[in-house]
């Protein structure tokens, strides 16, 4: 009875809004806000613990040897052909850059498929996701076209579909045929590491990175074998061997802690990694 009375009086007190009530409420709100951060922290620490290529199962990665790249752009053309892209839409971009000593070299840049991908954290509808095998994929039926991911990506790896999809890519059939469905106008698109090839290839018992049908088109198209693809969890895969052999590798804008999955072998004149401060 007394308990009941106490309750009713406290309820009555609560009904009178006062500054103290407001402070209480504000405190509760802050507490609630802090609680929402917990699952995020857990998830992030889990992602960090798995790290690049240390998770279970297949962990896809790519290595690009800058010394072998001749700037022919076959990777871009093959990519455009199988994704049915117009020339002004490029998932894979080859640019000419200079070293500190002024030598020119070619830098080809697919999506980095970062482990801490800024685009994945930016997307308001979870249309961009990180697959368990490390590929950052898009759900084109879910994307609302807000373009926050484009603003978030430090590598310019994302392109917006400004126009209606084209009939036939100018690079097709020379560099291949369309392999994936067209995306609607108004969504953001990106490199998929040719996940359709990987998934279909694994079902047929092929080895991505070794068998051409299961390997990204850009890797297959490269005439100098500058690109190596494979499972970073498998010590016998071409990429694991190449990474073990390489004396120095670097990843682009490593200082941002995005943990990219695309590694580069720097030009021979640069045996240091500019991001590691040695």
């Amino acid at each position: 009875m007394t308990e009941h009375d106490n309750k009713t009086t406290s309820q009555e007190e609560e009904n009178k809004t006062s500054r103290r009530d407001f402070l209480k409420l504000a405190g509760a709100m802050v507490g609630a806000a802090a609680l929402t951060q917990l699952p995020m922290a857990k998830k992030m620490s889990a992602a960090r613990a798995s790290g690049g290529g240390e998770g279970t199962g297949h962990q896809w990665g790519m290595l690009i040897d800058i010394n072998l790249c001749i700037g022919c752009q076959y990777c871009t053309f093959a990519c455009n052909a199988i994704n049915n892209l117009a020339d002004d839409m490029r998932y894979c971009v080859v640019t000419t850059e200079t070293t500190r000593s002024g030598e020119e070299f070619f830098l080809s840049r697919p999506c980095m498929h970062c482990d801490e991908a800024p685009c994945v954290q930016a997307c308001p509808v979870a249309a961009t996701r990180k697959r368990p095998d490390g590929i950052v994929e898009m759900d084109y039926d879910r994307c609302i076209g807000c373009r926050y991911c484009m603003v978030a990506c430090p590598y310019d790896a994302r392109v917006f579909n400004w126009k209606e999809p084209i009939e036939l890519s100018p690079q097709s059939p020379t560099f291949g045929y369309q392999e994936v469905p067209n995306r609607p106008r108004g969504v953001v698109e990106k490199c998929t590491f040719c996940s359709h090839r990987i998934d279909a290839g694994l079902e047929r018992g092929l080895v991505p990175g070794v068998d051409h049908q299961a390997t990204p088109a850009c890797v297959v198209a490269c005439p100098t074998n500058a690109r190596i693809f494979g499972d970073m969890n498998d010590a016998t895969s071409p990429i694991s061997k190449a990474l073990a052999e390489a004396t120095v590798t670097l990843r682009l804008r490593e200082e941002l802690s995005t943990e990219p999955r695309v590694y580069y072998i720097p030009p021979e004149s640069h045996t240091d990694n500019p991001f590691q401060g040695n």
Partner: protein, 421 residues
């Protein structure tokens, strides 16, 4: 019972003319032009805009942010009146709710056109991604728009139409709807303290996140400053309350003399001035931290490039620092200035600074971005010019705002018939 509303009239020779119909006609033309632009955008997609892959956000995003921030007085005055119980601001708070409602609906309209897939606007409500700041902002803005709608209904039903009108007798259905609206408004008015708390929480969350969603993008130099969330909250308060003062003088002192005491309007000006000064102080320190203690070579490079090439340096130093200091100090001493004409002019500067902050955040980070090459990164400067459909949609939204505000200014009494509450 009802407030006397003085309608401004213009004199042409001997005639005095009520320009209201012509003004509304002009705005209707603006809306028609805007609707045509909107149709073009929806038919041809965002390809008709000046946006590119390098500069994917433009005029519309800035307008969205600006109208959200200029509606920022609603949550402040909800707290002042219903939690701090400073009842003398109640009538001003009604105007703040109106400004909030108009600002947030305008923001919703403009951002809808900015989506590549406008028909999927509901996706954030269904497909949750709680790690995304943009998702949080979207949810907060939607919920807060609900709060504002609940807060504005009691203000609207104060109009005499809801008490006496020939239409009530002729069409009983209208009478029934009016009664329902009044009942709902009465019920909602009782909930106002709760709405004020919810509104405060949602506003602080999304106004701060609007700053944070730039500052988490650490690949872009100028955006990577730690105090952006705090700055955005204070900036929305400073600009939003300045806007409230500006419109308040028109609404109350010019059109409804005697409804709100001059002292109360001075207090509004002082509040805006004080927050403006505080914000400018914060902003100076933020600049110093970003500029001097930046540990990242790319960010230093970008900040230097922005100071050299972008309009960042002049707009920042003049528009965001110098003028707000002068205007903030003037508004803070409103009770010594005692001139509404000067104070209205001064109140334009915090408003301009609020919009400029959004403009600078949006463009400074977008047009000058560090390249990703490993050895000799440079700052690539892109360009962006809005095209006519972008201006058309902007005209549509601005015309909508002005038209709704004009009708409210002319017809809403801002004083209920039962002056008890």
């Amino acid at each position: 019972m009802q407030t006397d509303i003085h309608i401004p009239r213009f004199r042409f020779g001997k005639k005095t003319v009520d320009i209201f119909p012509y003004w509304i006609g002009l705005l209707a033309l603006g809306i028609l032009f805007g609707l045509y632009g909107a149709f073009v955008v929806l038919r041809d997609g965002l390809d008709v805009t000046g946006l590119t892959n390098k500069v994917p956000w433009g005029l519309w995003v800035v307008m969205d942010l600006a109208s959200i921030s200029l509606g920022g007085s609603a949550f402040v005055f909800g707290v002042i009146v219903y939690l701090m119980k400073l009842k003398r601001f109640e009538i001003v708070a009604k105007l703040a709710v109106l400004l909030g409602f108009l600002g947030y609906t305008a923001a919703g309209m403009v951002i809808w056109f900015d989506l590549g897939q406008p028909l999927r606007f509901w996706h954030p409500m269904v497909f949750w991604q709680p790690h995304s700041l943009l998702w949080e902002i979207t949810m907060c803005v939607i919920l807060y728009l609900g709060v504002l709608s609940a807060e504005i209904l009691p203000v609207v039903v104060e109009h005499s139409f809801f008490y006496e009108h020939p239409l009530h007798k002729r069409y009983p259905i209208i009478k029934k709807l009016v009664e329902l609206a009044k009942k709902l408004a009465h019920w909602l008015h009782k909930l106002v303290p709760i709405l004020a708390v919810v509104g405060l929480t949602l506003s602080l969350l999304h106004q701060a996140s609007l700053g944070a969603y730039y500052s988490v993008l650490n690949g872009r130099g100028v955006w990577f400053n730690q105090s952006a969330p705090v700055q955005f909250v204070f900036s929305a308060m400073s600009g939003g309350i300045a806007f409230l003062f500006f419109t308040g003088v028109i609404m109350f002192r010019v059109m409804r003399p005697g409804l709100v005491k001059d002292e109360i309007l001075y207090d509004v000006a002082r509040l805006s001035g004080g927050i403006t000064l505080l914000l400018t102080y914060l902003r100076l320190w933020d600049w110093a931290v970003t500029y001097y203690y930046s540990f990242d070579v790319n960010i230093t490079l970008q900040t230097e490039a922005l100071n050299a090439v972008a309009p960042y340096s002049s707009t920042f130093w003049i528009g965001q620092i110098l003028l707000p200091i002068i205007a903030g100090a003037a508004m803070f001493s409103a009770k010594s200035i005692k001139s509404f004409r000067y104070l209205m002019v001064f109140s334009l500067f915090p408003m301009a600074a609020t919009v400029l902050t959004r403009w600078n955040y949006n463009f400074a980070g977008l047009i000058a971005m560090p390249t990703y090459d490993p050895y000799t990164p440079i700052i690539r400067v892109s360009s962006y010019t809005p095209t006519w459909p972008e201006f058309a949609v902007a005209t549509l939204v601005v015309s909508y705002w002005l038209m709704a505000f004009s009708f409210a200014a002319r017809y809403l009494p801002f004083k209920g018939p039962d002056a008890a509450h």
